[in-house]
């Protein structure tokens, strides 16, 4: 490639760079700009520079920390359960059984439903007056208020688990199928029991895949919004107010866009760290293979 080609190449990049600047660069820059201002949609004539005040304000903002805590509980609870269930399902589906493709297709089904519909579905299924699940439980003498103050966040976790365990299964199944078969046969001959093989071979060999799957699911779980929006709207009280829903509420219901932007940037920082970790793991995984 000579110098002229390279110059041409740079010119050809320009339209794309322009587009990216327009649809990504500008919004991010503008969000950063308003996060340093007192920027309220209801008082656009009073916009003024406040420096880091919005960020500093978050430190003492109990609603913000409540939302952060709820999100952390949601993410860790959901992803942990999804990992355990997903691994169990992947191990079950990994062995050859008759009709295994049908099995796999059925298991994967929930992840093809749009999350807002899943939220609406469960809102009805778990509703304490009309829901079929509480009704069935009541018939055997169990009374559970799924969206009451104690259980609401846990119920949202269960809904997430229902919808996204299949994705975890899919990742782990692909990981299992990519593992070489010979070391497992060697271990069987070497005297390892089924559990020992799982503990000392399957788990460590699957570790990079597990890490990647967990990170991808975490990234996704941080963005939880639809279930909250469709079912609890953050309630009861602030029991299910997650960070994204809180940002939405402050920004679009209270019109305090400056504060909302500042919160969004704190979320972005967390997500950025996760993404960097993810790429690091994926690269190491390639080096492994």
């Amino acid at each position: 490639m000579n110098r002229r080609d390279r110059a041409l190449g740079r010119w050809l990049l320009l339209p794309l760079l322009g587009l990216l600047a327009l649809v990504q660069g500008y919004p991010i820059a503008f969000a950063a700009y308003i996060s340093f201002h007192d920027y309220q949609l209801t008082a656009l004539d009073q916009v003024r520079w406040v420096g880091l005040a919005q960020y500093q304000g978050l430190a003492n903002n109990s609603s913000y920390w409540n939302a952060v805590m709820n999100t952390l509980i949601f993410v860790s609870g959901a992803v942990t359960l999804e990992l355990i269930l997903g691994l169990a399902l992947a191990l079950l589906l990994h062995r050859p059984v008759p009709g295994q493709n049908a099995f796999r297709a059925i298991v994967l089904m929930p992840m093809f439903i749009t999350p807002i519909a899943v939220g609406l579905m469960f809102r009805f299924l778990l509703n304490s007056q009309l829901g079929i699940i509480p009704l069935a439980l009541r018939s055997i003498g169990v009374e559970i208020d799924w969206f009451g103050p104690n259980l609401a966040l846990f119920s949202l976790i269960l809904i997430d688990v229902w919808q996204w365990t299949p994705l975890m299964t899919l990742f782990l199944l692909a990981g299992l199928e990519a593992l070489p078969t010979e070391p497992f046969e060697a271990a069987r001959v070497d005297g390892a029991s089924g559990f020992q093989i799982f503990r000392y071979l399957t788990l460590p060999l699957l570790r990079p895949v597990i890490l990647a799957a967990v990170l991808i699911r975490m990234l996704d779980a941080f963005r939880v919004f639809e279930y909250v929006y469709a079912i609890t709207r953050g309630g009861p009280g602030e029991r299910t107010e997650t960070i994204l829903f809180h940002i939405y509420r402050v920004g679009f219901l209270y019109f305090r866009l400056g504060e909302a932007s500042a919160m969004a940037f704190t979320l972005a920082a967390v997500i950025l760290i996760l993404v960097v970790a993810l790429f690091y793991i994926l690269r190491r995984q390639e080096a492994w293979a």
């Binding site: 010979e182 060697a186 001959v189 390892a192 460590p204």
Partner: protein
């Protein structure tokens, strides 16, 4: 240490019969080589013995114990895989120690045995490396160390040398023979390489299409093959075959291939007489065909004329590819031969080493 017995063992995969009615006894301490072309069922046989495949019919015994329905971990066998099958996330030490740890052997005992095995295979200096940092030859040694550290009743080898380069293969071959002598344990060794089979085995079992063809010492397999397949499979270059008929002439008997006629040695005439007039296959190994100028004294030589088609210099010998009428064959002759490509030359067949097979059953006529 233990013997191994297969009793009428059959293995079916879906519609394919991989091993068919195999009956084979391997005495304690023997180095048995299972050899055959790919897909002949030799690896399946080994995996059946390891317990990695379940038999469809028949029984397998290790020593006096019926292991047919016993899982691999309880069979007390150790296996070296073709791909070595090292545990990629463990270092060499942990790879070797794995089997002992799974059996809850005390830690000090494990250390003693791992170091001993490592010393025996000269891999002490790489104990803390991961498999991916090792060369093919080193991995192979680790795989062998992992097997011997367990002190099993039977060692199983599945083409362990096929991933090594030629030089290392020859060296490792010798080391495995020494290892067998030193341990005195039963070895069952699978290979498609007839040179490995000939050099390593106490006995060789030749398989084809899931059927055991012949089990015998390397020498007997070579000198007295039971059938056409064994005769053609063992030996390099392979035995020459000629479609022929047996023709009587007074007291004597002649092999007539259409291209040439050679006399049957008198001591064999009574054995072959019943095949007079029937279709047979005449076999003679390339090393039993001589350039008359460099031939040792032969008891029953037969002269044949043939044209030299290709001449391959191998260093210590020359392979002549010859054409007589429509028959082609190979001779391994003295490197000083004056035969040149395109010329028709005289050759001597050493008829004392002739083989004769029934053309229909392909079995040796004896």
């Amino acid at each position: 240490m233990a013997s191994v017995t297969f009793e009428h063992v059959t293995k079916k995969f879906e519609n394919v019969i991989a091993v068919k009615d195999l009956t084979l006894h391997i005495p304690d301490g023997e180095f048995l080589v299972l050899v055959g072309p790919s897909g002949c069922g030799k690896t399946t046989t080994l995996r059946l013995l390891a317990g990695l495949e379940e038999v469809t019919h028949g029984r397998i015994y290790i020593g006096d114990r019926d292991v047919t329905d016993i899982p691999p971990k309880d069979r007390n066998v150790a296996m070296v895989f073709q791909s070595y099958a090292l545990y990629p996330h463990m270092n060499v030490y942990d790879n070797i120690a794995f089997g002992l740890r799974m059996r809850k052997v005390p830690k000090l005992e494990i250390e003693r045995r791992v170091l001993e095995a490592a010393r025996m295979l000269e891999i002490e200096h790489i104990l803390y490396r991961r498999p991916r940092e090792l060369s093919g030859g080193q991995r192979q040694r680790v795989a062998v160390a992992r097997a011997i550290v367990r002190d099993p009743a039977v060692f199983l080898f599945d083409e362990p040398l096929s991933n090594l380069d030629a030089k290392l293969r020859v060296q490792t071959r010798a080391e495995l023979i020494k290892l067998h002598q030193r341990l005195g344990t039963t070895f069952v060794y699978v290979t498609h390489d007839q040179v490995e089979a000939m050099t390593m085995g106490t006995r060789i079992a030749v398989m084809k299409d899931g059927v055991l063809q012949q089990v015998d010492t390397p020498q007997n397999i070579y000198e007295r093959p039971d059938n056409l397949f064994v005769a053609g499979f063992i030996g390099s270059p392979p035995m020459n075959f000629f479609e022929a008929r047996l023709m009587p002439e007074g007291e004597s008997l002649w092999v007539d291939t259409g291209a040439f006629r050679v006399p049957v040695p008198p001591d064999r005439v009574p054995i072959y007489r019943s095949y007079v007039g029937r279709r047979v296959i005449f076999g003679l190994r390339p090393e039993h065909i001589y350039d008359p100028d460099f031939s040792p004294p032969l008891n029953h030589p037969a002269e044949v004329q043939a044209r030299v088609d290709v001449k391959e210099l191998m260093g210590s010998e020359i392979h002549l590819h010859l054409v007589a009428d429509r028959q082609t064959f190979v001779a391994r002759v003295d490197p000083r031969t004056r035969a040149s490509v395109g010329k028709t030359i005289r050759l001597l067949f050493d008829m004392d080493h002739m083989h004769l097979f029934d053309a229909e059953t392909e079995r040796a006529i004896r």
